[in-house]
């Protein structure tokens, strides 16, 4: 079933989304359906639209009509755009955020979907299956694209809601990324309401907005949930379902949410752009039961080998779009890169195997940060690693050997953070910088990456 069919079965005045641009009913969302679907039938379309309401309308028109949809974040650095368009072989860009259009490898650029006019010919054949290309969250260089189908994206989505009060889904994520798209599609498929607060306001304002709009279902990373728990407005959210994803959920935040929202279901999910949704855990405890290894609840096979978690790929292809870089073995298993241990009938997460640091859902490669640190004239050597944080899960930490004595360290720390802040995304700048006389090396003579 394509997206349009879900919307078409709803009453026209049914509200599907409240967004910064207003209220989106089923009939408003389908208003331009035929014009857009016909104009873009068979095309490879890149979509970079900030407003989730407009996004739903455009995605609904494209699904089942376009050859492919490449979803791009409004926050995508402009210099990455040409490469992504090339990888996905896009021929049209729908963007309300991109200004530099002359140099893009495209035949058509529309700065707003309203500019799209249907072709004169009638009865255009819509292609039957549309590839959905989603960007990974890698923070080094150009994001990679993973190919999904609508079916693989909504595999675990519940189409029917339990009886009782209709759910209202809060959207705190970027809807163009895997986690946010899950929330958006969940609302469309179930015909329930999506509430998207303004993007550029403080978290307290967003939470107050969601509370006033009666948000009952909310999904966020554990780091975001800890921050939400610290807002006075959190107590006003009438939540019935709480979802955590993107990072390891520890017992403390699970217990805290259960205490603030005693009647809500608290669910943590394991998902990635590459693997899709792996499983969800509903018993309010961290980790997951070992029974999932034999009998996976969402039907996605899991296994542990060499202390690592492997998961069966549910994406359409197991290589990144437009590249020959694979992310799974030939029989479809993906090495998640997560170290796990089995204890007391439960599988627990220990952190990342590669030294890759997950900061509130953003992935940071220590080598990149080390390279920048070493380019500072006062730095002799540097080691970057993840440090456990009770607030953020993990933060980036650095040990730095200077060319001169650090003094009390305060001024030098400020200087290095300023230097790094001008060259790296905020998540990559080491939160903790300590000055040492020498770096620990491991058995192979490389800088040790063990988290400390």
């Amino acid at each position: 079933m394509k997206l349009q069919a879900y919307l078409a079965q709803l009453p026209g005045d049914k509200v599907l989304a409240d967004t910064p641009t207003g209220t989106w009913t089923a009939s408003r969302l389908l208003e331009n359906y035929h014009a857009w679907a016909q104009a873009l039938s068979g095309r490879k379309v890149a979509v970079q639209l900030a407003d989730p309401g407009l996004g739903i309308g455009v995605l609904t028109a494209l699904d089942g009509a376009a050859a492919s949809i490449t979803l791009l974040s409004p926050a995508l650095p402009p210099e990455h755009l040409p490469k992504l368009l090339e990888h996905a072989q896009c021929d049209i860009l729908l963007s309300d955020t991109t200004a530099a259009t002359d140099e893009l490898p495209l035949s058509d650029v529309y700065l707003h979907p309203d500019e799209i006019r249907p072709p004169d010919t009638k009865g255009v054949e819509y292609s039957s299956s549309t590839d959905w290309h989603l960007a990974t969250s890698g923070t080094t260089g150009v994001p990679k694209l993973v190919s999904h189908s609508l079916a693989s994206l909504v595999r675990t989505t519940k189409v029917r809601q339990p009886t009782g009060q209709e759910p209202r889904w809060g959207l705190l994520y970027d809807y163009t990324r895997f986690a946010g798209l899950q929330v958006l599609l969940q609302a469309v498929l179930a015909g329930s309401r999506l509430i998207a607060p303004p993007v550029d306001v403080p978290l307290r304002t967003k939470i107050a907005h969601l509370a006033a709009a009666g948000c009952t279902h909310l999904s966020a990373t554990p780091t975001m949930w800890r921050k939400i728990a610290m807002t006075p407005e959190a107590r006003e959210l009438p939540l019935r379902q709480i979802t955590l994803g993107g990072e390891i959920a520890d017992d403390r935040i699970l217990n805290s949410l259960a205490a603030i929202y005693p009647t809500a279901r608290v669910v943590h999910i394991y998902a990635s752009t590459e693997a899709g949704v792996g499983f969800s855990v509903k018993d309010r405890q961290s980790g997951f039961p070992t029974s999932y290894l034999d009998d996976p609840p969402e039907g996605v096979a899991l296994r542990i080998a060499d202390g690592r978690l492997f998961i069966k790929n549910t994406a359409v292809r197991s290589s990144y779009v437009g590249t020959d870089i694979g992310f799974g073995t030939e029989d479809g298993w993906i090495e998640t890169g997560d170290n796990v241990t089995v204890k007391g009938g439960r599988v627990h997460f220990l952190g990342r195997a590669s030294g890759l640091i997950n900061v509130g859902g953003d992935k940071v490669y220590p080598e990149e940060v080390e390279t920048i640190l070493m380019s500072h004239s006062d730095v002799h050597a540097a080691r970057v690693f993840g440090r456990a944080s009770s607030i953020m899960g993990t933060v980036v930490a650095a040990e730095v050997v200077l060319n001169h004595p650090p003094g009390d360290g305060t001024e030098m720390r400020r200087e290095l953070k300023k230097f790094l802040g001008m060259r790296l995304a905020p998540a990559k700048v080491p939160a903790i910088i300590n000055f040492v006389e020498d770096l620990a090396l491991n058995a192979t003579g490389k800088v040790s990456r063990d988290a400390s």
Binding site: M224, R226, M230, A258, S390, I391, T410, K417, A431
Partner: protein, 86 residues
């Protein structure tokens, strides 16, 4: 003792604030200041908690069995006082 602990927390807060936001002065805090409105983001707050652990030798967010997140600066001070290792 309590006044001393508060003074040490204020000092670490000021250091972290200036280092993390590149501001020259830190805001003055009272017990009713909402932590999320001090200008320190969640990464800044995570840094504050790690630096306080280095300074004071304990992290109440790890030690406390209570599933609690403080909202105001006063809540934070009390949380550190109540969870001091004996």
């Amino acid at each position: 003792m309590a006044a001393d602990l508060k003074a040490r927390i204020v000092k670490v807060f000021e250091d972290v604030f200036k280092e993390h936001t590149q501001a020259t002065t830190a805001p003055s805090l009272n017990d009713d200041s909402v932590l999320l409105e001090t200008g320190l983001d969640s990464l800044g707050f995570a840094i504050l908690v790690i630096r306080l652990e280095e300074e004071l030798g304990y992290d109440p967010f790890v030690l406390s069995s209570e599933a609690y997140y403080p909202q105001t600066f006063g809540d934070l001070i009390r949380f550190y006082e109540d969870n001091q290792p004996q």
